[in-house]
Symmetry: C2
Subunit: 514 residues, 2 copies
């Protein structure tokens, strides 16, 4: 076999300037010397080989010799980066045999339960980019319909083992996680400095936004560098008890990062995958005590308390198996937390709370104190029930703010732009009344269309929250953008749906509705 | 809204010479005037608009101005063809709102049954290329795990209604279908002329190969044109009682064509989808009586008779609901039918059977006669049990061959190459013994690697079938190719797995194994 392989025509690597997202994509000439492109096309996936290095990729075909010639193979981003061979190197290209673990995915689709070995093989192939986007979806949806407890444990363990593992000397390492969906919900950036100021280690790593206008990592990046590796993260936590870094850079659960990047745009979320996703990262991060915040509201991921309860049981089950003390609480998820949506606007809210500014959003402050209270009570030296008072003391005394500055200094400056979008548009109430609902999904969409999170200063500032009185013509919120295209599109979309429901004013005693 | 839309920056359409398969793909510059590419990227799907015309597409990003400039949008194939606006036309591009029916797909994934309206909306969006490849997979796998009877009926009906509908004046219109997977299984090309020669209308449309080395349409194309539209098909059937055309051109179930093109490469097949797929096409084709052939063997789609029985029930259930008389038979699917694998080699087998040549493959002849016998008995004028003798008479008298020539003349000549691949390689037995098994999947793979079906003359000719004695060094089969790359790769793959199992010779009386 070896000799036949080495006799095969080799193609020269060429760069094709296309960003294809997560998937490895290569371009072949229809007149390719390696094999006729149409014959390849029947396989659609190809394998590149160069010495002992191999990579699977999805195939596109071109007739344009200036793009890719007959003796060349074009590698788009990220294939070129991942294959890591210089342009001009020669490779062999053959129709790809699908990864063996795909057979297990097919079994799963046919309704069979997988064993730990099969799940580990799937996670390995995912981690090494051997699945096409369509194959990833097949695995995700195939395991969405049902997953046994054993499968959940195996998936969590395999994902936790596929990346970096952090180890801490401390007996208690606390962490928190919020099931997303609520705009502006940046409690971590208030909770971490409070808990760290108390002295409990809280090495927090967070995600960047995938389909939302800001993840905690995007917002923290306004204040400090978040692309921090595992070793540096340890040094920061040793110095400050806490950190607020981007988890993707720490690489705690690379398979999960890939799964999430597929399931979010599809809008598909299942309980089991959510639990495996979160718990795999916390296990890899070496957490001993974990607080999970499940906001419940009409436009959150979890829409009622029965759902939340089922999810709680799953978290507890997995936590027990992996020796992590898990506490799950539900919170009010009916509307955005704080006033800002978008990295800079949210960072302003956070710093206002930490600085005890009178205008700081009280909902962000109160929710953060409540979460911090839970975490502080993991400290055996603290009396039961004393967590809230301790958290408030640390916040009001300025200790939390000082701790935040210490963390920011330790992580170092980021080099992102810090000004707010200068093109603004106010969305106005179309009637008198009381705000009766805010559609979190629509506010996320609008902030995203405005340019967040890529543009740190793009987003939305809310002037009204649920229960507030408004008059017709009064501004409900302001959209911040940098370009007129973004502004026009956000304005168009806000006209189609403001995201605000305005109800009648409550009747005064003796009054009747006209 | 309209004015905001028309004020938006417009981009000029440009052609990007990339063939992206089934999916609409467009390329945007990272410096795009329409919206910053990274902001788009968060949405990944975009909507192009030009007057009232709209198209959804998946987005790739480039930094190369020579490929796509900031005021341009690059349309790859098939997006350019489907959007059908000339290069240079101006369009607006916005982040796409996913098709509404995707919400029903999510419900399905969460385990809910869909109603007929929801399923019809999904099929409409599929048919109009509004789903990305990943969204198609989500639907396929999401409905693979379970589908209610009502859902199956709704899906079949919606798919049958989405394309061309054929109507026939005759009270009986017969058809046959084989659940694929068996190489060389070209019975339709023998059955259609026999049945047509008898006088029963059999307007047969067939598929082209997607992952196999030949579909009936690919093989028929060696003898005649198969890209025949609905009207022309009717004229041919009026003149000849039968035809053998490509179903894709008739466009009987366009949504199904899309689903199949996704599920085949993934290797995912579910009973319900298979039934909806086949029945939707037969309903649209106006068949009244349908014979379904389910080959059962270790490497066929259906691996045992219990599976085949469940499938039979489903076919009967759907047939009853749509007023089609369905008969399901199981056949021997342990090995390829006939000797040829690949369009020309299979066409040679077919014509040898029709011409009653002594060397014609007896398995193809016998299986075709058996199937034709079932179909002929749908004729009320024929006595029960007389079908086989009538089929044999029509074959042996040369009536079937004459009918085939009539059909070929009516469909007209095809312009494909008709010579066999001149680069051949014989795969030899490595020991004395008896052929005990032939792996259909591996033979398909080898014939495909050799260049079939794109190269009509590429493929495999089998010299030995199950039960045949072989001596070490004797050829088992010959691989036909046109290029040395294809030959080398097929040879390499045949060395890794010949596809043949050779067992011990049966013992003679009194003999013992050494």
């Amino acid at each position: 076999m070896r000799s036949a392989e080495t006799n095969r025509p080799r193609l020269r690597i060429r760069s094709v300037n296309l960003d294809t997202g997560r998937e490895n994509v290569v371009v072949l000439s229809r007149q390719s010397k390696a094999l006729r492109a149409e014959i390849f096309r029947g396989f659609s996936r190809v394998e590149l080989r160069c010495d002992s290095k191999a990579m699977l990729a999805t195939l596109l075909i071109t007739d344009d010799d200036t793009l890719v010639g007959p003796d060349e193979i074009g590698l788009a981003e990220p294939a070129l980066r991942r294959f890591a061979e210089p342009v001009g190197s020669s490779v062999t290209v053959t129709p790809a045999t699908p990864p063996e673990s795909l057979e297990a995915v097919r079994s799963k689709i046919r309704g069979q339960a997988l064993d730990a070995r099969q799940i580990a093989a799937i996670v390995q192939d995912l981690t090494h980019y051997r699945y096409s986007d369509m194959e990833i979806v097949a695995f995700l949806i195939g395991s969405a319909s049902f997953m046994t407890s054993d499968e959940l444990i195996a998936l969590t363990g395999a994902m936790a083992g596929a990346g970096t593992k952090l180890k801490w000397a401390d007996p208690i390492v606390v962490d928190k996680h919020c099931i997303g969906g609520i705009p502006g919900n940046r409690t971590s950036m208030v909770v971490v400095p409070i808990v760290a100021a108390h002295g409990l280690p809280i090495p927090k790593s967070s995600s960047r936004a995938i389909t939302s206008p800001a993840g905690t990592a995007d917002t923290m990046e306004v204040l400090a560098r978040v692309n921090v590796g595992a070793e540096e993260m340890k040094a920061i936590v040793a110095a400050c008890n806490g950190c607020l870094v981007w988890g993707g850079h720490v690489n705690l659960s690379p398979a999960d990062d890939i799964l999430i990047s597929v399931e979010r745009p599809l809008g598909v979320d299942t309980r089991e995958q959510m639990v495996a996703s979160i718990m795999s990262k916390k296990i890899a991060a070496g957490s001993t005590h974990l607080l999970i915040d499940i906001p419940v509201g009409p436009s959150t991921k979890i829409v009622n308390s029965a759902e939340a309860m089922r999810l709680r049981k799953l978290f507890e089950f997995v936590g027990d198996r992996f020796g992590i003390a898990v506490e799950v609480i539900t919170t009010d998820g009916r509307q955005p937390i704080g006033n800002g949506i978008g990295p800079i606007l949210e960072a302003q809210d956070v710093m206002a709370v930490l600085a005890n500014e009178p205008a700081a959003p009280t909902d962000l402050r109160e929710k953060s104190l409540r979460l911090a209270a839970h975490l502080l009570e993991y400290d055996p030296r603290l009396r039961g029930g004393a967590g809230y008072a301790r958290a408030r003391d640390l916040l009001e005394s300025g200790a939390a703010l000082r701790q935040m500055h210490k963390i920011i200094d330790a992580q170092g400056p980021s080099n992102c732009r810090t000004q707010l979008g200068e093109l603004t548009h106010d969305v106005l109430a179309d009637r008198d009344g009381v705000v009766s609902g805010i559609d979190c999904l629509q506010m996320n969409r609008l902030a995203r269309t405005a340019g967040a999170p890529l543009e740190k200063g793009a987003g939305i500032r809310l002037f009204k929250k649920i229960g507030d009185r408004v008059e017709a013509g009064e501004p409900l919120y302001r959209i911040y953008t940098f370009g007129s295209s973004e502004r026009d599109l956000a304005v168009t979309n806000s006209r189609a749906a403001t995201g605000y429901a305005i109800g009648n004013l409550p009747l005064l005693p003796g009054e009747t509705r006209p």
